[in-house]
């Protein structure tokens, strides 16, 4: 095409303009990571949540518990937890709920309406002292009562560490089974929320997974939270129930309104696969779901098996071992920092039990080993992309 000399400088400009237009229209594609291209990420688009009554009815686990066909109600995770506590308080007259700010409904609204229904003698505020809350709860449980104590953020559970580790966990053992604090349940919001930084984002499950005598649980969804919390409250052992706070509002399901309990120490296979076992818990499950979607899109024919551990202590090693014996590869992911995180325990146990079956080293995708930062959280988190990399490494070892 012949262009007049005067307009020669405009041709590249027009080309640039056309290029820019293309750039802007596909900015999301070009600016994002290659694997994420065109994908809907996160819990809002998750197919693992049972959002319809039909999906609840189709759940084999809920079928076996007899609640798959019962009435359901659309609830987010904090409403499901509220519902669980309501059932626990109704069924057991010795049960009480206490902690900082629980009486008005709680800073995350998990105890809304409980004080009005059950009275301020059973739903009450405590002074600002986690060690006091834990000790008080232990004392009530030692008398055979059911104490549901709330620690406002898992980041603040450390003042209570002595009471939990030295007292609650050892109460039954050291007394020769004369006394116990089985009625103790500690509930606490945990994990990253996007803007929590160092002290509103921690996932300290690994500290407690190291203590004989405790049970440690982390649910991934409203139906799971309700069933596991009721099981935790009624379990005759002191239990710590970690609630990923980002899921309080973002995870919504049709939750059975009945009183039901999900089994503790039983991992759930969320998606069967034959090439690699991917294990996680809590909010990380949704990053794993996305990573698996990307892998299966980019490597046709490859299928990944996704397992939600649900109970971190005592964990269901058998389900993971059976899966690894089938696939030969394992990837474990959690938000907590890498060194000495729970993935280290799982990796060590699996390599010991499945050594000759493993086709590649166990991959751990975890938070970076730094305090949880604010503006740099995107780099810290074991996101879907990092998990994608790890699964890819495992498959191509």
């Amino acid at each position: 095409m012949v262009t007049p000399l005067a307009c020669q400088h405009r041709a590249p400009a027009r080309q640039i303009a056309r290029l820019a237009k293309r750039l802007y229209s596909s900015a999301a594609e070009i600016n994002s990571f290659e694997p994420v291209r065109g994908m809907d990420l996160g819990v809002a688009h998750s197919k693992l949540l049972l959002r319809s009554v039909a999906s609840v009815q189709a759940s084999s686990e809920l079928q076996s518990l007899g609640v798959a066909d019962s009435d359901t109600k659309k609830m987010n995770m904090c409403q499901a937890i509220n519902d669980a506590m309501r059932h626990a308080l109704s069924a057991d007259n010795t049960s009480v709920v206490f902690g900082e700010d629980v009486a008005f409904g709680g800073v995350f609204r998990c105890s809304v309406g409980l004080a009005d229904e059950f009275g301020r003698e059973r739903i009450f505020n405590t002074p600002l002292t986690e060690q006091g809350i834990a000790g008080f709860a232990i004392g009530m449980a030692a008398m055979g009562h059911t104490a549901i104590a709330e620690i406002q953020f898992a980041d603040y559970i450390f003042p209570a560490f002595d009471q939990i580790v030295n007292e609650a966990a050892k109460y039954r053992y050291r007394s020769g089974n004369q006394f116990n604090v089985g009625g103790l349940t500690i509930r606490t919001p945990c994990s990253a929320v996007g803007h929590g930084a160092l002290y509103h984002s921690q996932s300290p499950e690994a500290f407690f997974a190291h203590v004989p005598g405790l049970k440690v649980i982390m649910p991934r969804s409203p139906i799971q939270a309700k069933g596991l919390l009721l099981a935790a409250i009624r379990d005759p052992n002191p239990t710590i129930f970690f609630e990923p706070k980002i899921l309080y509002r973002s995870a919504v399901e049709q939750v059975p309104v009945d009183d039901y309990m999900l089994p503790l120490s039983k991992a759930e296979i969320l998606k069967p696969g034959k090439d690699v076992t991917v294990v996680g818990y809590g909010s990380q499950i949704y990053a794993l779901e996305n990573a698996i979607q990307m892998i299966e899109r980019d490597m046709p024919g490859v299928t990944c098996e996704l397992i939600d551990l649900r109970t971190i202590l005592p964990y269901d090693a058998e389900t993971v071992i059976n899966s690894v014996n089938k696939t030969g590869r394992l990837v474990v992911a959690h938000e907590a920092p890498r060194t000495q995180g729970f993935a280290a325990e799982l990796a060590a146990e699996i390599q010991e039990r499945c050594f000759l079956r493993l086709e590649s080293p166990v991959q751990r995708v975890c938070g970076l080993f730094v305090p949880h930062p604010l503006v740099f959280e995107r780099f810290y988190m074991p996101c879907a992309v990092r998990t994608y990399e790890a699964i890819k490494n495992s498959l191509s070892y």
Partner: protein, 355 residues
């Protein structure tokens, strides 16, 4: 309003009746003003210093319970020590007839016998440890009068101890054989041989198993007391600890929770002057542990820890208040640890034989 300023403000008002009327009206206005506006925020009232003839204002913030404003910059500090309740003199004679314990001779004999049994058992078990028969032991020399507190309780009151409360167990009916079973970790030990000697615990006698971490039992006792309050059985929790353990965070947490939530628990501090080698002057600077109870809004009494009837009477009265009013009580018993801290301690390293 400064009355001295009045003649300048209202000249000619020196007549006494007019002055009195003015003073009354000004006082009324002052009171209305003060009620309506906090003094600090009102430049008008701030300009006038309050004289002694107008009432002082109460602080109106939710956190201030009964405080009044003052214009004197003065740091409060402890001046008067809380007195120590005593019933007997050193010869055992009841000084004031009104304090007579009103126990039967049988009860008194039982207490006296248990004090002796405790003393002799401690001597034998200390030697047993030195002979290598058991690994560890703690004696109670000098603190035998603690038995008086156990005598004042209901047998079903839940006891949360620290480690120097074997006398309480004796008074409750723990047999010498049972003490031995635990110390020797034999097959009859109720604790199943899992803990070091002197970590006794018995469900039958409502004595929670002793644990080594100090002061952890304090908030637990508050929680247990709350459970008992909910059951409505008019029982209380009894929590023993030493003055050293009262420095732990759990002490402050436990007392504050018991006071705010309303738990029928007796906090009994055995202030025996030492935490292993640390004397009480290095443990606290305030007026002992008793002054802390006041700080938490808890009714408190200090007693002579070697006066068995003082301990008995104080515990009995404390129990009545705790159970009837569902609130905690703090008792600080002043005594002296004659023994070493334990068989792993030789106290001549930090105190003279003369002491």
């Amino acid at each position: 309003m400064n009355l001295a300023a009045l003649p300048r403000i209202l000249p000619g008002l020196r007549g006494s009746r007019a002055l009195r009327w003015t003073h009354t009206r000004l006082g009324q206005l002052q009171r209305t003003f003060d009620k309506a506006l906090p003094q600090a925020h009102c430049p008008l009232t701030a300009a006038f210093s309050t004289s002694s003839c107008v009432p002082r204002k109460k602080v109106m913030f939710p956190g201030a319970l009964d405080s009044e404003y003052t214009h004197e910059l003065r740091f409060a500090s402890n001046v008067e020590s809380i007195p120590t309740y005593q019933v007997m003199d050193t010869d055992g004679k009841v000084l004031d007839a009104a304090n007579d314990p009103q126990v039967t001779e049988e009860e008194a004999r039982k207490i006296y016998k248990n004090m002796h049994v405790l003393n002799v058992m401690d001597q034998i078990m200390y030697e047993a440890q030195r002979q290598g028969r058991i690994s560890f032991y703690m004696t109670n020399f000098g603190e035998e009068a603690l038995i008086g507190s156990a005598a004042a309780l209901d047998p079903k009151d839940q006891v949360f101890g620290q480690y120097r409360e074997a006398g309480v167990l004796l008074q409750r009916g723990f047999t010498i054989q049972q003490f031995m079973d635990q110390c020797y970790s034999n097959e009859k030990d109720l604790g199943k041989g899992r803990q070091m000697p002197i970590h006794y615990g018995t469900k039958e006698l409502h004595f929670q198993t002793i644990s080594s971490p100090l002061a952890t039992q304090i908030p637990q006792a508050a929680g247990a007391a709350y459970a008992m309050r909910r059951e409505g059985k008019k029982l209380c929790a009894m929590c023993y600890f030493g003055e050293g353990a009262a420095s732990e965070g759990d002490f402050h947490a436990g007392l504050n929770m018991a006071a705010t939530i309303g738990c029928p628990v007796i906090f009994f501090c055995r202030n025996n002057g030492y935490s292993i080698s640390t004397p009480s002057i290095e443990q606290y600077r305030g007026d002992g542990i008793a002054s802390r109870g006041i700080g938490y809004g808890i009714d408190t009494i200090r007693v002579d820890g070697n006066d068995i009837w003082a301990i008995y009477a104080a515990t009995k009265a404390a129990r009545k208040i705790a159970v009837e009013q569902n609130k905690p009580i703090l008792i600080e018993a002043m005594t002296y640890r004659i023994s070493h801290h334990s068989t792993s301690d030789d106290s001549s390293a930090y105190r003279s034989k003369k002491e």
